[in-house]
Amino acid sequence: MVSPPISTRPHPDDIVVTGLGAVTPLGVTPAEVHRAVCEGRHAFGPARGAPHRLAACLPGRPHASTLAVQAARQATRHRAHTHDVWVVCGTTASNLASVEASWWDYAAELRPSPDLPPQLAHAPARAVQDALGSTAPTHSVSSACTSGALAIQHAADLLRSGRAHAAVAVGVDVVCALTLEGFAALKLLAPGVCRPMDASDKGLLLGDGAGAVFLERRQTAEMHGHPICAVLLAAAATSHGQSLSAPHPEGLGLRRAIREALRTQPPPHLVVAHATGTAANDAAEALALAAELPGVPVTATKGALGHTLGAAAMLDSVLAIHVLRAQVAPPVVGLRTPAAPLDLIQRARPMAVRSVLTLSAAFGGGCAALLWGRHAPAAETMP
């Protein structure tokens, strides 16, 4: 299927991306991550603290707040001043990995501990705010695996409303006992490497990661001479209301999100699917993609980076934006035998990509779609 070109004219109020950041076990810049995934590498090894399980872990004991700051610093590198930058952070477990030892003591002995650190989901956002020296308010989103996508939507809305002139959206999560053993309890962990959209898909693997996108209105970016990486063409969020932990079997939530995101846009040239590697998610998503976007090439990142939960949609967006720049679509790492009649990319594919749709789905039924467009000079755009 040949997708038509993007038909929107540049507008001063467009929400554009002028900075990107990524911290993953496969690379600590967006370009490094893109190169590694294009080479078909994955980051899985013995999980931190649970060597009998596999995960894509960064070395040492990373702190979610520290990763969030690293990604945000990359994304804001082009800004001389960041005191007015609003911070919107998506996360699920936040810094839980760093404080689990205290919980462990408490859980084992049930002893009163006034210092017991609660699950402060806003901590990474506050750390980014402090690191940037920002005096603008911070926001944190914790909508499970759609958190990163909703953080971007939230930041874009703050810009559109005129409250914010610049915003950095961050997604971050670190593998911890709760998530590792939780997915194991649900029997969703893959015994070997993760193989999204594969006929043999047997589960997901978790990963550490942080991603960040710096968002401005086009007018502001051009006024300051900031290089524009991409345009946020559309965004959508829905809820399928079907189950607290399972996807809708026919992918209805995702289908509605795709339709809403593409209401005024032509089909994308590429899809970065949520594709966790679990049978239920991948089957539902494949149905949604086959119905809504037949023939559009599909890739996914979780076979390389693992499922980074609150960071997943953010890292997918960072990769999607990098694909718009590099014009090379990365493969679905781990894929051997496609489970669905989709154009699943199995080797890095050079291709003309002018728009990429990223999809995410979450516990609780949330679904989100983001449509990213290549920043094109006016001459390239259609009337």
């Binding site: 084992a108 609660p118 926001h139 409303s161 053993e181 189950s243 509605r256 516990f363």
Partner: protein, 260 residues
């Protein structure tokens, strides 16, 4: 000072600054919440926080049966979400080497919002925000965009309390949940949000919802907890007007509900 008008309040929640219920040290609810009509099994499986959120949301939504729940967005504001599910899973892991799958499923911050989606039929955007203070202001800022796009938005806020020393000592914790429906052109109160550059002095009926600073002398209500501002704002709405003073980091925020 920045002043921006948000939206008008059409429906009202009744689970306001006066706690809807109390939790004992085990997390059991000491007050019987009324099932808003969902299945008895689902109601029995929901946590006290989930039940309070369902009850408050249903009460608000029932006032506006004409709204299209397929597109109505919801913002759930919570500091800790279902912290007791996290605690339950980790206790199981420490004591038995494994946690209960359902505890893990419920440990995500958005569980209560998902219950509303699941049982009350909301299929639009369901977002969970976790503020560091500023629960009312965060909700209003998010509602502003969603109301503009969808015409209305359900705001729900609350916490079941952290496992703090009080809980461990056996003292009950307040279960504080508030819900309100805001829309662009309703009949109710007017909501404003301002960002004063210096610590504000509350005016009139005020709720001071700053979790790390005591209220000024004469302030009638003080709520601790990072998300308690929204239940506080609902209390103001219930009372026919009032003000919530919050702080997030270095930013002060004042949310005001007043008659037009």
């Amino acid at each position: 000072m920045t002043t921006l008008t948000c939206a008008r309040v059409a429906g009202r929640g009744t689970w306001g600054a006066r706690p809807a219920a109390w939790l004992d040290a085990r997390g059991s609810c000491t007050t019987e919440l009324v099932n808003p009509g969902i299945s008895a099994l689902a109601w029995s499986r929901a946590s006290p926080l989930g039940r309070a959120v369902l009850a408050a949301s249903a009460e608000v939504l029932d006032q506006r049966p004409d709204l299209d729940r397929q597109t109505l967005p919801m913002v759930w504001v919570t500091g800790f979400g279902e912290l007791r599910a996290t605690e339950g899973f980790l206790v199981g892991l420490a004591k038995r080497g494994r946690g209960r799958p359902r505890s893990f499923r419920d440990s995500v911050h958005n569980t209560a919002a998902s219950l509303v989606s699941l049982h009350l039929g909301l299929q639009g955007a369901v977002e969970t925000v976790v503020p560091a203070g500023g629960g009312a202001a965060t909700a209003l800022m998010r509602a502003e965009s969603l109301v503009q796009r969808h015409g209305a938005c359900l705001l729900v806020g609350g916490d079941d309390g952290a496992p703090c020393a009080d809980a461990l000592a056996g003292k009950p914790l307040p279960l504080c949940v508030g819900a309100a429906l805001v829309e662009a052109d309703g009949d109710g109160l007017h909501l404003d949000l301002t960002f004063p550059s210096t610590p504000p002095r509350p005016v009139g009926r005020a709720v001071w919802a700053v979790d790390d600073a005591p209220p000024p002398e004469g302030c009638p209500v003080w709520l601790g907890g990072p998300a308690s501002g929204l239940p506080g704002l609902v209390a103001c709405i219930d009372a026919g007007g009032g003000q919530v003073v919050e702080r997030s980091g270095r930013a002060w925020m004042v949310s005001t509900a007043r008659a037009r």
